[in-house]
């Protein structure tokens, strides 16, 4: 159960490293995507983000932080809501997933998102999947549409780590070592990686996907959380 989570985190870290420095995003759209709303009021279901904030300790272990994760959850929710409302889209928050089917869909999104990272962003290109986004969660998502009256749902995965004082000292040490001896151990600091999907609940198809990686940004802060939302949703074709 945990393995896939670890795999996703690992994959993201590798991708983030390959994408380099500051806040980077790279998005994919499904071919010929055109939003189709069944009601005059446009509604998007915001599925509770798969979110973990932690502190990167001196030894490189990530210590999960409940308080940071909770604040980030609150800030993300309000910023997502206001971003969408500026676009003229109403949001339906789906917090505290308890329904087994909905939980499975959220897990499925994390798994499919992981596959997109590997095959669309990573080096393992699939011959059957070319440049346009061609991934789906399957028609099992219709249940969500019927239940919440939204045509689309947004799924978000965030893994965010912050450098502890101890880790900072190790990084500083490695820089000094590198300067004097030419031996340069790769010591990574905290980083922010996230991916987001917009899913058509009628078909389960992922119509838009974006990956963000950043060495800065602080979701524990309301304003920074707002910047995060602006950055990751910037190219959303809504």
């Amino acid at each position: 159960m945990k393995i896939s989570r670890v795999k996703i985190a690992l994959c993201i870290v590798l991708l983030a490293a390959s994408m380099g420095g500051c806040a980077n995003t790279k998005d994919f759209k499904a071919q010929g995507v055109a939003f189709d709303w069944s009601q005059t009021e446009k509604k998007v279901l915001i599925v509770q983000p798969d979110l973990t904030l932690g502190e990167l300790t001196a030894g490189g272990m990530v210590e999960p932080r409940a308080d940071w994760t909770q604040s980030a959850r609150t800030y993300l929710a309000s910023n997502l809501q206001s971003f969408m409302s500026k676009k003229g889209v109403a949001t339906v928050p789906l917090d505290n997933l308890t329904d087994a089917h909905e939980i499975q869909l959220a897990k499925l999104h994390s798994a499919v998102g992981g596959a997109i990272l590997i095959h669309a962003y990573g080096p393992l290109k699939l011959p059957t999947k070319t440049t346009a986004l061609d991934w789906t969660l399957g028609p099992g998502t219709q249940v969500m549409r019927d239940r919440y009256g939204a045509d689309y749902a947004m799924f978000l995965y965030v893994y965010d780590t912050y450098t502890s004082a101890g880790r900072g000292a190790v990084i500083a040490g490695s820089v000094v070592l590198c300067a004097f001896t030419g031996i340069c151990p790769a010591v990574q600091g905290g980083s922010q990686v996230a991916f987001v999907s917009l899913v058509d609940l009628r078909t389960g198809n992922i119509v838009w996907f974006n990956l963000l990686s950043s060495a800065s940004g602080d979701l524990r802060d309301d304003k920074d959380a707002g910047k995060f939302v602006d950055t990751i949703l910037k190219d959303m074709p809504l």
């Binding site: 001196a58 409940a66 909770q70 939980i103 151990p185």
Partner: protein, 389 residues
């Protein structure tokens, strides 16, 4: 599966896999080390972070296809935990998971996993109680938190050391890992001491603790090390010492009461409906020597169980070593005579007879199988055999 916690960072973060067992005369942890009742960690603490991660794991159990939801079995296991720690009865949440290895594990937030491979191997309620007592002790003594802090602080030191010595530190890192393990062995000892206290205070017979562990170690020996199913091997230097201590401790406690509870009947009643499935899953692992030891251990308690005899026959038939074909047939015949064997006993017999070339006996056995299990999944296959016999 016996997982050594310090080797598994994941394990350290999520749960103490406490089946690594030892009984030591170590000082029992003092009362102030014990988790306060109705405790919630301060939100900005590392402990709260571990609880959050445990909560994620717990939610994944709730929707897992491996979760055994049978209310009666769940109530039974819960009742045993409640006998050990009545005041924690509501704070410990039990998840029985259908995994055919021997393991139980406790997360810091009170989530307890019990694997069906464990339920299959315990002979009675007392044996179950000792394992649950050990797990509960990890929770009461907040071992995950201390283990986490040590791993964090030690690995921090290791990273500094590697930088400082420009790569020469690799060996030192190994040494560090070893010291981590040593500490975690202390925690295991502590959990054993407290677990033994809890279970004997609830009246369970101390000898049962050592008994189960002797069987497990014997079973573990039959499984090739490279398969990594039993991390905890007999070659481990202090395992034998711990076993000895455990046996000694049981011997000391045994005479202090004469009305110890073993709970064989209750245990069998609670698990009877599931045993066939669990044995089938154990067989599916393909560790026939280990399965044979397990079956023979269970047969010691129930020499006339047709169900167990059937599985003994299945192990022989599938292992297919020299002389196994005859042993399988003998076991099937005893199983049929003793009664209580599943219908598949006739299928096993039919396959064995077919292989031995006795077409008439094979035909007879297959016909009996289809009569006893008319809706069997493999009916078409058996009919195909019949058409060629």
């Amino acid at each position: 599966m016996i997982v050594r916690p310090a080797l598994w960072v994941l394990c350290a973060a999520l749960a103490l896999c406490g089946t690594e067992q030892a009984a030591g005369p170590d000082k029992p942890a003092s009362a102030e080390d014990t988790l306060p009742l109705n405790y919630t960690p301060p939100p900005d603490s590392d402990e709260a972070g571990l609880w959050m991660t445990s909560g994620q794991l717990e939610r994944s159990f709730q929707t897992s296809p491996l979760l055994v939801r049978d209310p009666a079995l769940n109530a039974y296991v819960k009742r045993v935990v409640c006998k050990l720690v009545p005041e924690r009865c509501d704070s410990i949440r039990i998840y029985i998971l259908d995994v055919p290895y021997f393991n139980a594990a406790m997360s810091p937030n009170g989530t307890m996993q019990v694997w069906t491979g464990l339920l299959l191997r315990a002979h009675n309620e007392a044996q179950l109680a000792f394992i649950l007592g050990h797990e509960t002790s990890h929770y009461l003594l907040r071992h995950t938190v201390s283990l986490w802090r040590r791993a964090r602080d030690t690995s921090g030191f290791a990273a500094f050391f590697t930088i400082a010595t420009a790569g020469v530190g690799a060996l030192a890192t190994f040494a560090m890992m070893d010291s981590l393990m040593a500490y975690s062995r202390d925690e295991e000892r502590e959990a054993d001491a407290r677990g033994l206290e809890l279970a004997t205070a609830a009246g369970y017979e101390p000898e049962q603790n050592a008994f189960l562990w002797r069987e497990l170690l014997a079973e573990e020996k039959t499984i090739p090390k490279h398969e990594g199913i039993f991390e905890f091997t007999n070659n481990h230097p202090d395992t034998q010492e711990r076993m000895a201590t455990m046996t000694k401790r049981a011997g000391e406690l045994e005479p202090t009461h004469n009305d110890w509870v073993v709970g064989t009947d209750d245990y069998r009643k609670a698990t009877a409906a599931f045993r066939e499935r669990w044995l089938e899953e154990d067989l599916g692992l393909g560790h026939y020597d280990a399965s044979l030891l397990l079956i023979n251990n269970l047969l010691l308690d129930e020499p006339n169980s047709g169900e167990l005899k059937y599985f003994q026959g299945e192990i022989y038939r599938r292992r297919n070593a020299e002389g196994d074909a005859q042993k399988a047939m003998d076991a099937y015949h005893v199983a049929i005579a003793d009664g209580g064997a599943p219908a598949a006993v006739y299928r096993g017999l039919g396959l064995s007879e077919m292989k031995a070339g006795d077409k008439a006996s094979a035909r007879q056995a297959f016909v009996q199988y289809l009569a006893a299990a008319p809706t069997a999944d493999d009916r078409a296959m058996i009919e195909y055999y019949l058409s060629h016999l």
